[in-house]
């Protein structure tokens, strides 16, 4: 079992998740974050703090989102760590509203 970031993060990048991660397992590009499945301990602390509920434990991941398991593994391996909270992307609040949160 593992925990993954999904497409709701894309264009939001609120980064609240990194402040509650006990293991420092978030990596990111300019658009969104990804979880390193090797380092993550599946504690679930990040799930409720995501303003757009982009993070899932794989057991609760809707089937049409399963591609994100592989995407998180490969992207996190290729990208730098994100250890501190950053400003959300411009337009993040609009996108949050659009997503229904």
């Amino acid at each position: 079992m593992t925990t993954v970031v999904t497409d709701n993060c894309d264009l939001c990048r609120f980064t609240d998740c990194v402040t509650v991660c006990p293991m420092v397992c978030f990596h990111g590009d300019d658009k969104m974050l990804y979880i390193d499945p090797v380092v993550c301990i599946d504690c679930g602390a990040c799930l409720p703090v995501c303003p757009v509920r982009a993070i899932y434990e794989v057991k609760n991941l809707p089937p049409e989102q399963h591609e994100w398991i592989a995407i998180n593994a490969t992207r996190s391996a290729a990208l730098p760590l994100v250890t501190d909270k950053a400003q959300p992307l411009p337009g993040a609040l609009d996108r949050k509203k659009q997503l229904g949160f």
Partner: protein, 453 residues
């Protein structure tokens, strides 16, 4: 140099230390009443959740940062006063957690056989304070009051076949006692409904995965009132939806040929514990829910029922313990504060801070305390932005001689690393990841042995 003391070495203490040390030129002394660090990561996280103990690796990295010092074996407010601590440091951050539990407040609570869940947790995790506790595991029926993760942990440890615990770091005395357990039925009682349980869905799911055990939910219990339906359908509350889905799966299962049976019970509150010289059962009152979505409270209906049991654990909330010389909100069990700045009569006290459960109450999980600690550390650092006319403070150079003069034997982080290695070696000999030293004397003996070697 800014010299700071952190009182407590659990997750919030280490996360405050991490945030402070990352800022650069500070000295952080972490004071802990036990000779060993890590608080609830060592003594709270269940032995069958080894991954959730891995944050200790991050704590050890923090401990290796320049400016960090661990001082174990000192109880602030007993071995030394808060005033003495303030003399030695520019700032103090209290991170003592929620060390005591809320009582049910019903007649019979003091009967033998009625316990706080935290006593059992401390006992099976080898906490020195709970070594002498005895739990009557000859009882076939156990009741646990509360629907949170501590209740789920206690239930799982009682329900699992003992062989499934042998390769964990559970304390040896607990393993021996659980091997003789005659527990057959475990009732988890919650005052509100299935949509309001506080278990994480992960903990709830695990209850359904215990070998040779069943989980029973009466299907009728899962009919929700309109306010609860609104709660479950709210997109922000994913966990409630996942929990309901799991509960429906449990309700549809058969519980035939299970060795141990778990019963999830909703909308019931304890009104009395009965028994002559030992607990014999609990009187429960059926509740209904009142109020708007996310504001529903349980109201008694007057309908009572008796549930016979010889062992009961309460897990209905946790509270911090007051430290002499530090403001305390006894009702909430926390230190009154504004985002981590400790308040006295509504005014911030210079140089006094708090973080973690003693700051906000016992909510969230390990990582939740990291964001909380970052907030406190940020406020502390902003209070010390101009350090030019900061008076010099002696820090450890005054504290350690003071503690020694009072006959205290303190530990440092090197001592802990010795204890850690010795515990891991002891565990390896019996197929466990660790065999803890459960007596404080044994911790010190292990340090002395290695010093001699």
């Amino acid at each position: 140099m800014l010299k700071l003391a952190i009182v407590g070495s659990g997750p919030s203490g280490f996360y405050v230390a991490e945030a402070l040390l990352k800022s650069g030129s500070v000295e952080v002394n972490m004071l802990e009443r036990l000779p060993v660090p890590y608080g609830l990561v060592r003594y709270g996280v269940a032995p069958d959740h080894p991954k959730l103990k891995l944050p200790a690796l991050a704590f050890a990295r923090t401990a290796a940062l320049p400016g960090f010092r661990f001082i174990g074996g000192v109880t602030v407010g007993r071995d030394m006063s808060v005033g003495e601590l303030r003399e030695a440091y520019h700032g103090i951050v209290f991170c003592g957690g929620a060390e005591t539990d809320r009582e049910l407040g019903v007649p019979g609570e003091g009967l033998p056989g009625s316990h706080a869940a935290t006593e059992f947790v401390g006992w099976y995790n080898g906490h020195p304070d709970y070594l002498e506790r005895r739990f009557d595991l000859t009882q076939e029926c156990v009741v646990i009051i509360g629907h949170g993760n501590v209740a789920a942990d206690v239930c799982r440890i009682l329900a699992k076949p003992v062989d499934d615990l042998r390769q964990t770091d559970i304390a040896e005395h607990a393993l021996d006692a659980l091997a003789e357990s005659r527990v057959r039925e475990i009732h988890l009682v919650g005052r509100r409904g299935p949509a309001q349980v506080k278990f994480t869905d992960k903990e709830l799911r695990e209850l359904g995965e215990i070998s040779q055990a069943s989980v029973s939910v009466e299907p009728g219990c899962l009919d929700l009132n309109p306010a609860s339906v609104a709660e479950v359908n709210d997109p922000r509350e994913q966990a409630a939806g996942w929990n309901m889905q799991l509960l429906r799966e449990f309700a549809a299962r058969s519980s035939a040929d299970a060795r141990r049976r778990i019963f999830l019970r909703f909308l019931e509150s304890p009104r009395e514990l009965y028994g002559t010289d030992h607990l014999e059962g609990v009187v429960l009152e059926k509740n209904i829910l009142d109020g708007p979505p996310f504001g529903q409270t349980a109201r008694g209906t007057g309908r009572l029922l008796r549930l016979d049991c010889g062992l009961l654990f309460r897990s209905v909330g946790y509270m911090g313990v007051a430290i002499p010389g530090v403001p305390f909100d006894a009702r909430r069990g926390i230190i009154p504060n504004a985002q981590g700045r400790v308040l006295h009569d509504g005014q911030a006290l210079a140089g006094i801070y708090c973080a973690g459960w003693i700051k906000r109450g016992p909510s969230g999980i390990i990582g939740t305390n990291r964001a909380d600690a970052i907030e406190t550390a940020a406020h502390l650092l902003s209070d010390f932005t101009s350090r030019d006319d900061l008076p010099a403070k002696p820090g450890a150079s005054a504290l350690l001689p003071l503690l020694a003069s009072r006959g205290l034997r303190c530990t440092d982080f090197q001592d802990w690393l010795k204890v850690d290695a010795a515990e891991i070696a002891r565990g390896a000999a019996v197929g466990k990841p660790r065999e803890k030293f459960v007596r404080i004397k044994d911790v010190f003996d292990s340090i002395s042995d290695q010093a001699a070697a």
